[in-house]
């Protein structure tokens, strides 16, 4: 018996991943659920807080999840065309208004629910982003192509940047309010944001340059970029900067600095597929069932408000930005996913004192709800927009 337990604990993670993968395929085939939602459901049930099958999260698994998200953010950054903002300023306006309105409304709701200012601000910042992990995985699974797809990707990238910056500023403000160290406050907001973006830029310039220098190794760019993302993530995590921001900026700069065009594999091929399973299981496994009840009502209201405000803003700006009302509304719905990004944002700032967000009322329920319904909303919106590849989801 002891032996069996030992074996089980040793194979807990690999087995959980295999189960999640299986769940993803079964759920997609029979229930029509997005794969990533199924990964999350399995992750939630095998978590240490629930069945206790997995060991408590931490260590190398956190790094792995950060790498997985880093790869996704790099790919997202690489698909962002900043020139589009110049050609269509209304897209930029949509993004700013959408993110700001989400922040404002969620803050307002949290205050109404009796939350103190700092937790309310943190919740508002964490409710802003659209999780690029879920959005990109669903889009790639459906081979989406069209305006809802493109705008979901762009708006997701932008609101993630806004969220990181807002979150860092709130954290800085909280530290300032807490112990009054201005240095620590500035360091954890402004400096972290700038240095992370700077490191991403450095990689974005250096890696394509290196590839060019070594001479047309176009076939190997996928591996080269993947390794660079791993290195960048490890580096920023160790130095306690923001791996999220760094990876996103890396992708963005790499795209705009490219000289030799190459067809890097979508999703980073099999590597990306594999890491995505781990990422979604890991994130769901950080959730504790007992926490779900705390602020469940608040979470429900936030989910609905967030959906309404994002959809409202994208619909409002649809016509002027060259889109039909309908596709504008569907873009807003597609922006639902939240979980992975928010959780890793929290994980990456745990060193600041986990208690800052640990007791964030409603957060666990919010993450759990959107883990399931976020990808589902994106999938639904893409299908309704006619942007999914019918019958071909590989």
């Amino acid at each position: 018996m002891e032996n069996l337990n030992h074996v089980l604990s040793e194979i807990a993670w690999p087995l959980a991943l295999a189960l999640a993968w299986l769940g993803g395929e079964v759920g997609r085939r029979w229930l029509g659920l997005p794969r990533v939602s199924c990964y999350a459901i399995v992750g939630f049930f095998v978590a240490s807080s629930q069945s206790g099958f997995l060991p408590p999260p931490g260590g190398s698994m956190t790094l792995l999840a950060n790498v997985a998200l880093g790869l996704i953010l790099f790919e997202l950054g690489y698909r962002i065309n900043l020139g589009w903002l110049r050609a269509n300023p209304w897209l930029g306006a949509t993004s700013v208004v959408e993110a700001a309105a989400t922040f404002g409304l969620v803050f307002f709701i949290a205050v109404i629910f009796g939350q103190p200012h700092i937790p309310a601000l943190l919740l508002a910042a964490l409710a802003m982003p659209t999780s690029p992990a879920a959005a990109l995985r669903v889009i790639n699974d459906l081979r989406g192509s069209g305006q809802v797809t493109e705008r979901t990707l762009h708006l997701s990238a932008f609101n993630c940047v806004f969220a990181v910056v807002a979150f860092r500023i709130v954290v800085g403000y909280a530290l300032l309010a807490g112990n009054g160290s201005l240095f620590e406050a500035v360091w954890n907001s402004v400096v972290v944001v700038l240095v992370s973006a700077g490191l991403g830029t450095l990689f974005g310039v250096a890696v394509p340059g290196l590839l060019r220098f070594t001479g047309g190794l176009t076939r190997h760019t996928t591996v080269a970029f993947a390794l660079a993302v791993v290195l960048l993530t490890a580096l920023t995590q160790t130095l306690q900067f923001s791996p999220i921001l760094a990876a996103l900026v890396f992708g963005l700069i790499a795209r705009h600095r490219r000289v030799v065009l190459s067809q890097a594999q979508r999703n980073f091929g099999v590597l990306g597929d594999l890491l995505a399973v781990q990422l979604f299981v890991f994130v769901a496994a950080t959730l504790d069932w007992h926490q779900v009840g705390v602020g469940l009502k608040l979470a429900l209201v936030v989910v609905v408000a967030r959906l309404l405000v994002k959809t409202g803003v994208t619909t409002l700006f649809a016509r002027v930005s060259g889109l039909s009302w309908r596709k504008g509304a569907l873009t807003g719905v597609a922006l639902m996913p939240l979980s992975v990004f928010a959780v890793l944002l929290i994980e990456q700032t745990r060193y600041l004192g986990g208690d800052l967000v640990e007791q964030l009322s409603g957060m666990t329920a919010l993450v759990l709800l959107l883990d399931l319904f976020g990808p589902l909303a994106t999938q639904w919106a893409l299908r309704r927009a006619g942007e999914a590849q019918p019958g071909r989801e590989d």
Partner: protein, 375 residues
């Protein structure tokens, strides 16, 4: 449905249709953007005609009826600018070229319209493999018989149009070694090729169309994918072998080359016979495979000719006609293509060779379409 009557139209008038590619400016793969583009373009008057094609990553534009090169070119440029402008607002790039060099045909989404869905059902993968992009030129004919005369007389010059317009060297990610790989996709269709050698519209109707219709294989002229086909409802013949060039300037030049040829053929009234088609397929293959470097055989005296030389000879012969039609700039451009610049297939191959890769070829095509310069 019986064959429509052939409407008479002003001889030597021109109309141009271009099938264009919609691509994603990030990876330069085809983008399913036709519906979104048409929605945006539908908000204000379009300087011409724009409509969907069979897959979501294609869009087709058509000019009004023109008699002069300058007016034709002006309208094509206006339409191009409108398309490029709409594309910029939607993060969609527009480009010419007969094929997309690396798209995978099974990824193409069929545009939601009953006719397209029917075609897709009937032809299966051919319909999606038919994600190729051509330029069609209509020439007005005074009568149906005049149309049939021109149709068969032009057979001799078909390789010229193939070689001059060729812009599809790559397909499904590989260099096909053809200058126009697109035509190979067209040839796969059962009703492609040449029209039967009949010079009277009445004979065409009784000896051919009515019989074909009785077989149940065809319902209207639309079901024929011939290289040149009569279009009775417009009173035109339609040349369909050209790849969509990378620039609208080249498209206008090709149309005016056809116009000048027709003028010459109407004046000179050449004698035609079925023998004119002896080497038709061979010559067409030479032009597709080798472009301007092809060798064709003259069906009248069985002599081998350099296709390039034959084009240059023809261009010189057409000079007075071009003058009369005010289309000298068009013929000058083609002269430059045949002598120095080469066709767009060569331009695209050079992009690939210089390290641009597959996506780089498309990017060069996008730049060329926008600026009007691709050589």
């Amino acid at each position: 449905m019986p064959l429509e009557t052939f409407k008479s139209s002003e001889p030597l008038t021109l109309g141009v249709e271009l099938e264009l590619q919609l691509v994603n400016p990030t990876d330069f793969d085809l983008a399913a953007a036709a519906s979104d583009m048409l929605h945006l373009l539908g908000r204000k008057p379009f300087p011409g005609d724009v409509k969907p094609e069979i897959t979501e990553s294609m869009i087709e534009i058509a000019t009004d009826v023109h008699t002069r090169h300058d007016a034709l070119l002006a309208q094509l440029r206006e339409m191009r600018d409108a398309l490029v402008g709409a594309g910029d607002r939607l993060n969609v790039a527009v480009c010419g070229g007969g094929t997309h060099p690396f798209q995978r045909w099974f990824d193409q989404r069929i545009f939601a319209r009953p006719r397209f869905n029917e075609l897709s059902q009937l032809y299966g993968y051919l319909a999606k493999q038919f994600t190729v992009f051509g330029q069609h030129v209509h020439v007005g004919c005074g009568s149906a018989d005049e149309g049939l005369y021109l149709l068969h007389a032009l057979g001799r010059y078909l390789p010229h149009f193939i070689a001059l317009s060729a812009s599809s060297p790559f397909s499904q990610g590989v260099d096909t070694l053809f200058d126009s790989a697109r035509l190979n996709s067209v040839f796969a269709f059962p009703l492609s090729g040449r029209a039967p050698f009949l010079l009277k519209w009445g004979d065409f109707e009784t000896d051919y169309f009515t019989k074909m219709e009785a077989t149940g294989v065809v319902k209207s002229m639309k079901d024929f994918y011939w290289d040149i086909r009569p279009k009775p409802e417009y009173g035109t013949i339609e040349l369909r072998v050209c790849d969509t060039p990378l620039t609208v300037e080249r498209a206008a030049a090709l149309a005016c080359y056809l116009q000048a040829l027709c003028r010459m053929l109407l004046e000179e009234r050449v004698t035609l016979s079925e023998d004119g088609y002896l080497v038709y397929n061979y010559n067409r293959f030479q032009a597709c495979r080798f472009g301007l470097d092809g060798t064709i055989v003259d069906p009248r005296n069985y002599e081998s000719l350099s296709l390039r030389e034959d084009i240059l000879t023809t261009l010189r012969h057409l000079a007075p006609h071009a003058k009369a039609l005010s289309s000298e700039p068009a013929l000058d451009e083609l002269y430059m293509v045949a002598t120095r610049a080469g066709n767009h297939a060569g331009f695209l191959r050079r992009q690939y060779g210089e390290g641009g890769g597959l996506a780089g070829m498309v990017e060069a095509g996008v730049r060329g379409f926008r600026s009007g310069v691709a050589s």
